[in-house]
Amino acid sequence: MTTIKQNTLALNGDEAVALAVKQSDVDVVAAYPITPQTIIVEKFSEYIADGEVETEFVCTESEHSALSACLTASATGARTFTASASAGLALMHEILYVTSGCRAPIVMAIANRALSAPINIHCDHSDSMAERDSGWIQIYVENSQEAYDSIIQAFRIAEHPDVLLPVMVCLDAFFLSHTLENVKTLPNEAVQEFIGDRQIPLVLGHEGEKVPFKLDPKNPITIGPLALYDYYFEHKRQQEEAMREALRIIRQVHNEFAETSGRKYGNGLIETYHLEDAEIATVCVGSTAGTIKTVVDQLREQGVKAGILRLRTLRPLPFSDIKKALEGVKALAVMDRSNSFGGHGGPVFHEIRHVLYGTHSTPFVVNYIFGLGGRDMPQNAILGIYRDLQAILKTERVVEDVRFAGVRE
């Protein structure tokens, strides 16, 4: 356990992210403002102006340019950060794939916000869920403390030579981004010691010699050139391999961070709460997990065997961890704060049912789409879901497997 003295500060999620970025010794930040991410970059520009960091900061004219600037900065070996949300992330779509394809270890905070239309600034996960196949690692946090901790971990994960992939740290709009919370913060030196300098792996150069994988006039290489049916596929295969490696590295970095900070989030990939002997359980991502845990406590007091699995990383999907953790659960509700229109359920549901296929005792599974556009998910609504699960267990029948919670019909 840690002996480092930590400073407790009242921070909202955005401020917690900005502080973590500041302590992570970032070389370049390029961004474009969008609610509810704005505080991150505003706070950071204050750090720059006050001389607290030596970061190059570029306010570009759109998100597309912001991520493009980050990509090329990262390609020179710089540690790079940006932040966005909703329409801003959607506008980055093209460059998201270029970033992961170029193996640029950028870290980006996403303040999860609904996509237009109708225009809405509040929380749901439709922005980042739409990008889950873009080759970025995705970490979803439950509270501002975890946002702070995850940003610090994200640089280590992204830059690890076995991974070299960009990482999105997703925090719920307003519920986290704008809500004050006590956040334990590490001293600067502890964070810097934990992260260290960016490691640049060696790759084969044009003449077969080993050169650092970065744009450097002394050792010229080309990043991102044309690869058709001759080599494109191999690049994509390597990205998949890197995602697999990431499962190991995320856990490893998470455990090392726990030694420094004393804080753990399950095994770094999934977090379970009263799941060991649970008969009924929910699966969810993001801040709703906090409310669900409170409801689970209430149910446990009544003797109900209820539990929850929180997915911390959606990409890479911790397939076997989920499978193992859900063994023994008899009825399961998968919670989705976004929808896959016409897809028979939301994205998390698809993933979880996919994991459960072929297990020995597949539980009854239902999907709840909830909270779109920031609609609240109060305790009694969650309680209702656990009651539904009890009813399913009793009747041994799922009448409707995709349901909408808290919407006017």
Partner: protein
């Protein structure tokens, strides 16, 4: 009598969607003056409202599309001009007006502006230039003057701003004017003129932002800003737009471009007619 009947009605109330009031704009914001000038212009021209379409992007001023009681489209950030282009080309009988902000039109949407002006698409662009991204909390943008303070330039802006009237003129606009929200009569007249002209028009409206930009730059209250506009505005019609400055001690306002040039829509229709005639002849 009901309380509602006793209340004084704004003379332009019929042009607004009452159910959307109150609006979100801060006290002293210039957006109300801009909107009012536009509505007065419509009123005086006795425009058939069924023929008017208002398109806006995202930003404080972007809300205008939702407040005006005509067919309107509140688009995504930066894309008002392409949406408007589509409307105009699909139905050339409509008068299409874009009301949007400096950030929306010239940062994220800057490329659309120059190309619509170059093609001379017959749309009227009214830009509320408050020198910053008001809606997202006052970050600097493409019109923020050198040295100004914003939330992202706490020690002053080091980027050179666009001169919007110069940009519009150089890109090919047929009508270009600039006013501050002080010169309401002239602003209204420019909007009317733009509405009657064929081709791409820009009316730039220098607009106070008392709660954010003006506060950061210690410009005083909204009234102080109006007094400042009065003190430093210089009306120079026909002035070279390249030299039409917006500076602390001088804002050149006026009509800078007023020329005739066939619009994209007209050329497109003429070409289509020609080709169709030719095909008929060949049959």
């Amino acid at each position: 009598m009901k309380e509602a009947d006793l209340m004084l009605k704004h003379p332009l109330a019929k042009y607004l969607r009452q159910e959307r009031m109150p609006h979100i704009w801060c006290e002293g914001c210039g957006n109300g003056i801009l909107l009012n000038s536009f509505l007065e212009g419509l009123d005086e021209l006795k425009q058939n409202l069924d023929r008017i379409v208002v398109v806006s992007g995202i930003g404080c001023i972007g809300r205008a599309a939702g407040y005006i009681n005509v067919d309107s489209f509140h688009t995504t950030h930066g894309r008002a001009i392409p949406f408007a282009t589509g409307v105009k080309l699909a139905n050339p009988n409509l008068k299409v007006v874009v009301i949007s902000g400096d950030g929306d039109l010239f940062a994220i949407g800057g490329n659309h502006f120059i190309h619509a002006a170059r093609r001379n698409v017959d749309i009227k662009v009214i830009c509320a230039n408050n020198f910053n991204y008001g809606m997202t909390g006052g970050q600097y943008g493409p019109t923020t003057p050198l040295g100004s303070w914003t939330t992202t330039t706490p020690y002053g802006n080091i980027e050179h701003p666009f001169n919007l009237v110069h940009l519009a003129a150089a890109s090919g606009a047929v009508y270009v004017a600039r006013w501050t929200t002080l010169q309401v009569r002239r602003l209204k007249n420019s909007i009317k003129k733009a509405l009657q002209k064929e081709g791409f028009s820009l009316v730039e409206v220098i607009s106070p932002c008392p709660e954010i930009f003006d506060r950061y730059n210690k410009l005083g209250t909204a009234v102080d800003v109006m007094k400042w506009f009065k003190l430093i505005s210089q009306v120079k019609h026909g002035y070279d737009p390249a030299k039409a400055e917006v500076a602390k001690n001088k804002i050149i306002v006026g009509e800078f471009v007023d020329i005739e040039k066939p619009s994209y829509g007209r050329l497109l229709r003429e070409m289509t007619a020609n080709v169709q005639d030719k095909l008929k002849g060949e049959k």
